[in-house]
């Protein structure tokens, strides 16, 4: 042991040598450059544009908080698009989480043929939004769509799914549930991590399947549920293609999503400054929702996990 020469460098000091640091930065060069060029640079630029009147062909003209003032005082479409997005987000959150969790519980049962059912349930995820939006536009057609044909076949009145402002937003929620098996996959992964002995122990204590679901599955799954709720709600602020292709925001702006509003401001009317202000407001809303959800989750996850039942 003492044969080690006295000048042998201590490994601790060598770990963070400059040579290695330079090597490290050369390797991550692409992502650092990418973040600066495509993300942080544009973010800073957008913060500046949001304070200007900027119609891309002329240089931006500084107007202070004018865009923000207009947003919150006179722009009724801003309020409408925000309200559409939030209502969609809430509906999708409730319906989407319930259906996905139910499907995930079904898919984790140990019975024959489950692999094929999983393939069926997961398949719509990979269908491009362009294709699914047009497909559902046809399925929902008031006059010759198959959904109304089914309703009439069983003696119900046809519904003007996308054509009436009362049902258009909910029709989009249903379509999103169809494409939303990502949530199901995450629930399946979460369910598979729950140790089986917990269920066995509850069974020995005489709990039936429903009791086990609420006393074991739900508390053990609460971090997964929380994750899905947060990403699902944030995801509803990204909703764009179906609104763009199925309804173009109508009828009477009942599906005028926030993103569609930004898109039209920026690329139909070329109001880049105003659209940047809208993007920043959205960014702050998403941050605020995330913080609130995390705050609330502490109590909620603790409550479910505390075995009070």
């Amino acid at each position: 042991m003492t044969a080690i020469p006295a000048n042998f460098p201590a490994p601790k000091r060598r770990r963070h040598s400059w040579r290695k640091t330079i090597e490290g930065y050369l390797f991550i060069g692409p992502v650092v450059l990418g973040l600066i060029i495509w993300t942080f640079g544009p973010m800073i630029a957008s913060a500046y544009y949001s304070l200007t009147d900027y119609r891309i062909v002329q240089p931006p003209e500084f107007i202070g908080f004018g865009n923000y003032i207009e947003l919150f005082t006179t722009d009724r479409l801003f309020i409408q698009s925000l309200s559409v997005t939030v209502r969609y987000g809430l509906m999708f959150m409730v319906l989407g989480q319930i259906v996905s969790l139910l499907l995930a519980v079904l898919l984790t049962q140990k019975v024959r043929g489950m692999a094929i059912f999983r393939t069926f349930f997961y398949m719509p995820i990979i269908v491009p939004y362009v294709a699914s939006a047009l497909l559902w536009r046809y399925l929902y057609n008031k006059d010759f769509g198959p959904i109304n044909a089914v309703l009439q076949a069983i003696g119900l009145d046809p519904i003007n799914w996308l054509g009436s402002p009362e049902s258009s937003l909910f029709s989009m929620v249903i379509m999103s549930v169809w494409t939303g098996a990502v949530t199901t996959i995450i629930y399946v992964a979460g369910l598979q991590q729950i140790p089986e002995d917990l269920h066995d122990a509850a069974k020995i204590d005489g709990a039936n399947a429903v009791q086990r679901f609420f006393a074991v599955t739900i508390p053990m799954l609460s971090p997964t549920i929380f994750f899905n709720v947060v990403t699902g709600f944030i995801g509803s602020f990204q909703f764009f293609v179906p609104a763009f292709l199925m309804t173009d925001g109508g009828p009477i702006k009942s599906t005028y999503f926030y993103n569609l509003n930004i898109y039209e401001k920026a690329f139909r009317w070329l109001e880049m400054g105003y659209a940047s202000a809208m993007a920043w407001v959205l960014f702050i809303i998403i941050m605020a929702i995330t913080v609130v959800l995390f705050r609330v989750s502490n109590r909620w996850v603790y409550y479910e996990g505390s075995n009070e039942r």
Partner: protein, 301 residues
Amino acid sequence: MSTLQHTPDLSVNVRPGRRARYRLNLDARSIVFYAILIAFSLFFLFPLVWMAGTSLKSIEEVGRPQLSLLPEVPQWSNYGNLFADPSFYRAYVNSIFVVVVTLVGTVGSISFVAYAFARLEWRGRNLVFALMLGTLMLPAQATLVPQYVLFYNLGWIRTFNPITIPGFFAGGAAMIFLLRQFMVGIPKELDEAAMIDGANPLQTWWYIILPLSRPAIATITVFLFVGLWNNLINPLLYLQKAELFTMPVFVAGKFNLQESPIPWQTIMAASVTFVLPVLVIFMFTQRFFVQGIAATGGKEG
């Protein structure tokens, strides 16, 4: 002692029970169970079957109320007309070109960067990693406008550059995260042995880490492929010229409200040719795909 007594107990009790549940016994409960599964399968499959069926119907058939999944007489000419359309070919070739170039750039640079995060020791690593993951919180549309301005000033509008080039800068924090997590799990002794043999980090990355990361690289490749193939918004914003259109823009363009009656059979035939590649890839790589979603929460970027 107590643990020794406990272990055999578990194996005796749990194993037979598990095996018994795999058996197909058609009592009332499992009939109800399968009925529920089949009902949901209908909900998920019906639209896709309807898409395929419609693509073979005639225009008269498409425009009247009906519930038939199959066409009265299969109209193969719907596909014939599509294949005879030069703009269809162009869109298909453009899509393949854009997806392949972007995939090569993205997967290559991501594997490079993930290696540095997983295996190299350098000052500031945790900070850069945290900053990168922080960008997952950013809504895509926050950067949409300034990026458009940037590409406009670079003169990249009406070129493929805004779609292909950002990929080469390791686009996609979630994918870097996924690959980095996988690489962390590769035994450290392998790089150390390579270093002792005189390999530099670049050689270690290429000869040791990349070949061992194949499953994770397959996952991110499948994942990125689907995201790129399906993407509408970037091609819609930047291509702006019919010769450059990719399949999402082409299919969306097939739908035109001015046209009456709307040629649903053509739209659905175009959709089928568009969906089929991803569907086939999904069938063969479902495992990778599902792992990717479970590991990243379904984030594509």
